[in-house]
C-alpha cells in the first residue's frame, strides 16, 4: 500500500457570492521514499494541495470532499491533537521564503528545540544535541554559534538550510517542499536542491517537491503531477512526462523552458493566462488557451484517464502529434 493516498480531494472557500472551489478531483499516491513533483503556473493550487494534506488550509477554506490516507488514517478526519502530532513529526513542510518562515524574535535553537519538544519527551540537552546534528547535516558552518543566532543574522541560503534542518528533525516519512528555492539567490538554488535531494536519499524520506519550474522537478523527482486551475491535468513518470507529454498544457510548459528556446529569441510562452478560480470556463479549463481545442473541449470537462501509467485529462489525448523537438527537450532538461 502506498504511504500516502489522496482520493478525490476537494477544497472550498465559502464567500459572499457562494462557494469557490480551489481544488477539485485531486487524486494521487506517494510511495515510501518516493520523490514526487507538482508543477503548474502560479495560482494553480499547488500550495493549496500541500497545505490540505496537513489540514492547514486557512479559514474560511475547508476540505469539502475526499480522503487523505496516511499510514492507514484519514488525515482530513483527525481531531486537532491527532493531526498536530503528525505535523512536523511524520510529515514536515518547507516553505517558500526563508526570510518569512522563521520567527524573527526567537533564536534558531529555540525554534528547533520547541519542534522536538512538541512531539516527544526530550531533555533540553538532548534536544540541543539533536538540533546541532541536524544543522551539521545541512552543512551549516559553525552550527553551535548558529543555534544562538536570530534569523536576521543569517543569509537567505542559511535560513533555508535551517528550515530544512527543522523539517528533518524528527526524521519524517514525508517532506513537502513548497518552492523551496524560488526565493533564493540563483547561485545557491542548485546547492540547496542538491542538499535536499541528498538528505531525502540518506534518510529514505519521501519528498513532494512543488515548483513552477519543470526543469527543477525533472532533475529530482521520479514522478510528476501537472496542475492547472485547481485540477490535475497530467501525471506520470518524470521521463514519460518530459519525453512524451500528452496534455497540451504540459507540452506548452516544456516548450516554454528556456533551454527550448534559441538564445536571443523571445520565450515560447503559452498564450493567455490561467483563469481565476471564480471564472473557470465550462468544459476544459485550458481550452481557451489551447491550440488543439475543438467544440467538445469548450463544453465537457475531460476526465483523467490512464494509459501506460500516464494519466491525462484531455479529450484529444493520444491524438496529438508529438511536438517537433521532444528530443531536444530531453537533452535540455537532463
Amino acid at each position: 500500500m502506498a504511504l500516502l493516498e489522496i482520493e478525490d480531494l476537494e477544497v472550498e472557500f465559502p464567500n459572499r457570492h457562494g462557494t469557490l472551489t480551489a481544488l477539485r478531483g485531486i487524486n494521487f499516491t506517494l510511495d515510501e521514499s518516493e520523490r514526487l513533483g507538482i508543477v503548474g503556473e502560479s495560482g494553480a493550487g499547488k500550495s493549496m494541495a500541500a497545505f490540505a494534506i496537513l489540514n492547514l488550509i486557512s479559514e474560511p477554506g475547508r476540505i469539502s470532499k475526499g480522503r487523505i490516507v496516511f499510514e492507514g488514517r484519514d488525515l482530513a478526519k483527525l481531531d486537532e491533537e491527532e493531526i498536530r502530532a503528525i505535523r512536523g513529526d511524520r510529515i514536515s513542510m518547507i516553505f517558500q521564503d526563508p526570510m518569512m518562515t522563521l520567527n524573527p524574535v526567537l533564536t534558531v535553537g529555540v525554534q528547533m528545540i520547541e519542534t522536538l519538544k512538541a512531539h516527544r519527551d526530550i531533555s533540553d540537552e538532548d534536544a540541543r544535541k539533536l538540533a546541532l546534528a541536524r544543522l551539521r547535516e545541512v552543512q551549516i558552518p559553525s552550527p553551535e554559534a548558529r543555534l544562538d543566532a536570530y534569523p536576521h543574522e543569517l543569509s537567505g541560503g542559511l535560513r533555508q538550510r535551517v528550515v530544512i534542518a527543522i523539517a528533518l528533525l524528527s526524521d519524517p516519512a514525508i517532506i513537502i517542499a513548497d518552492e523551496p528555492t524560488t526565493a533564493l539567490d540563483v547561485t545557491i538554488q542548485a546547492e540547496v536542491l542538491a542538499l535536499l535531494l541528498a538528505l531525502c536519499r540518506d534518510h529514505a524520506t519521501a519528498l513532494i517537491l512543488i515548483t513552477h519550474d519543470l526543469a527543477v522537478v525533472s532533475q529530482i523527482t521520479e514522478r510528476i503531477i501537472v496542475m492547472y486551475a485547481g485540477s490535475i491535468v497530467e501525471a506520470g513518470a518524470t521521463r514519460q512526462i518530459i519525453d512524451t507529454p500528452q496534455h497540451p498544457y504540459t507540452i506548452g510548459l516544456i516548450a516554454a523552458l528556456p533551454e527550448q528556446n534559441a538564445p536571443g529569441q523571445p520565450l515560447n510562452q503559452i498564450r493567455g493566462s490561467m483563469p481565476s478560480l471564480n471564472n473557470i470556463p465550462p468544459g476544459c479549463a485550458f481550452a481557451p488557451r489551447c491550440d488543439y481545442a475543438t467544440d467538445i473541449c469548450h463544453r465537457i470537462v475531460p476526465n483523467l484517464t490512464t494509459a501506460h501509467g500516464q494519466s491525462v485529462a484531455c479529450h484529444h489525448a493520444g491524438q496529438l502529434q508529438p511536438q517537433e523537438s521532444v528530443r531536444d527537450t530531453e537533452r535540455a532538461v537532463s
Binding site: 496537513l54 492547514l56 486557512s58 486537532e80 498536530r84 502530532a85 503528525i86 505535523r87 512536523g88 513529526d89 514536515s92 513542510m93 516553505f95 521564503d97 518569512m100 518562515t101 522563521l102 520567527n103 524573527p104 524574535v105 526567537l106 533564536t107 520547541e114 519542534t115 512538541a118 512531539h119 536570530y150 536576521h152 528550515v163 527543522i166
Partner: protein, 331 residues
Amino acid sequence: MKAADFISFLLRRGVQALVVMFVISLIGFSIQGNLGDPLRELVGQSVSEAERNALRDRMGLNDPFFVQYSRFLGNAVQGDLGNSYFFKRPALDVILDKFPATFELVLAATLIIIGLSVPLGIYTAINPHSWITSIVMAVSIVGISIPVFLTAIFAIYIFSVQLGWMPSFGRGDTVELPWGWDSGFLTLDGLHHLILPSIALSSIMLPLFIRLIRGEMMEVLQSEYVRFAWAKGLSKRRIWYVHALKNTLIPVISLGGVKIGTLIAYTILTETVFQWPGMGFLFLEAVNRVDTPLIIAYIIVVGLIFVVTNTLVDLIYTLVNPTVKMVGSGS
C-alpha cells in the same frame, strides 16, 4: 548587546533629550514674557512709573532677550524656576509636592490598561467570531468616542452619588514614605479613592490599546512564520502566547509607550473632576490665578517626564527586540 552599543545609545538619547528640554524651556520662557506683567502681580497698582522702571531694571526685565533667557536657563538647571506668586514658595517645590499623587494615578491607570488590554486584545484576535469579541469591540468603539470628563462625571454620579460605594473626591488617607513621598497605595482608604479616578483615566486609552493589540495580533497570526509554527506541530498555546504574542507586543511597546506618556496630559481633566490633589489639578488652579512661575514649572516637569518615559520605552523596545541594533535605532 555590547556595552559600547549601550553607551552610545544612551549618549544619543541623552543628546536628544537635551534638545527637547531646551525647546521646552524656550516655550516656558516665552510664556513668562507673555502671561501678564510680573510687576503687577508683585507690587500692585499703587506704585509710580519711575519706581516700576527702577524695579524692572533691578529684576533684569529690561535686559536683552538673550541675557534674560540665559539667566532663566541657568537658574532652571539649578532647579530654580522662580517663586509661585500664590504659594510664595519655590514653584518647583510646589509642583513636586503634588508629583506622588499624579504618579500613582497614572501608574494605576497604566496597570489597568495593560491588565485589561493585553488579555482582551489577545482574546478578540484569537476568537474573531465569538460574541464576547463583538461586545468588546462594540463597547470599545463607544468608549473611544466618549470624552473622559463625561465618563468621570457619570462614574461619580452612579457610584458615588446614587450607590454611595465610592468616594467622589480626594486621595483619602496617605502614608508618608521617605523623600516626602505620600502614598495612597498603602492604605485601604487610599486605594478606595484611587478606583474611580484611575478607571476614568484608563478609559481614555483602553479601547485604543485593545484595538491596537488585536489588530497587531491578527496580522501576526496571518504571517508565514505562524503558519510554519502550525506546520511544525506546535501546540496552540505555544503558537499564540509565544510565537504570536512576542511579535505582537514589540510594536505595541513603542507605540503604547508614547500613548501612556500622553496620559499625563489627561490627568489635568481627571484630577480636576475628582479634585485629585495632583499636578494637573494644581496646574489648572495656577492657570486661573495666572501664577506664571507655577505654570512654567509644570510645563517643564511634565516635559521632563515625557522625555524620560519615551527614552525608557525606547530602551525597553531595543532590549526586547532582537532585530533592532542599538546603534542607529536613532529616533
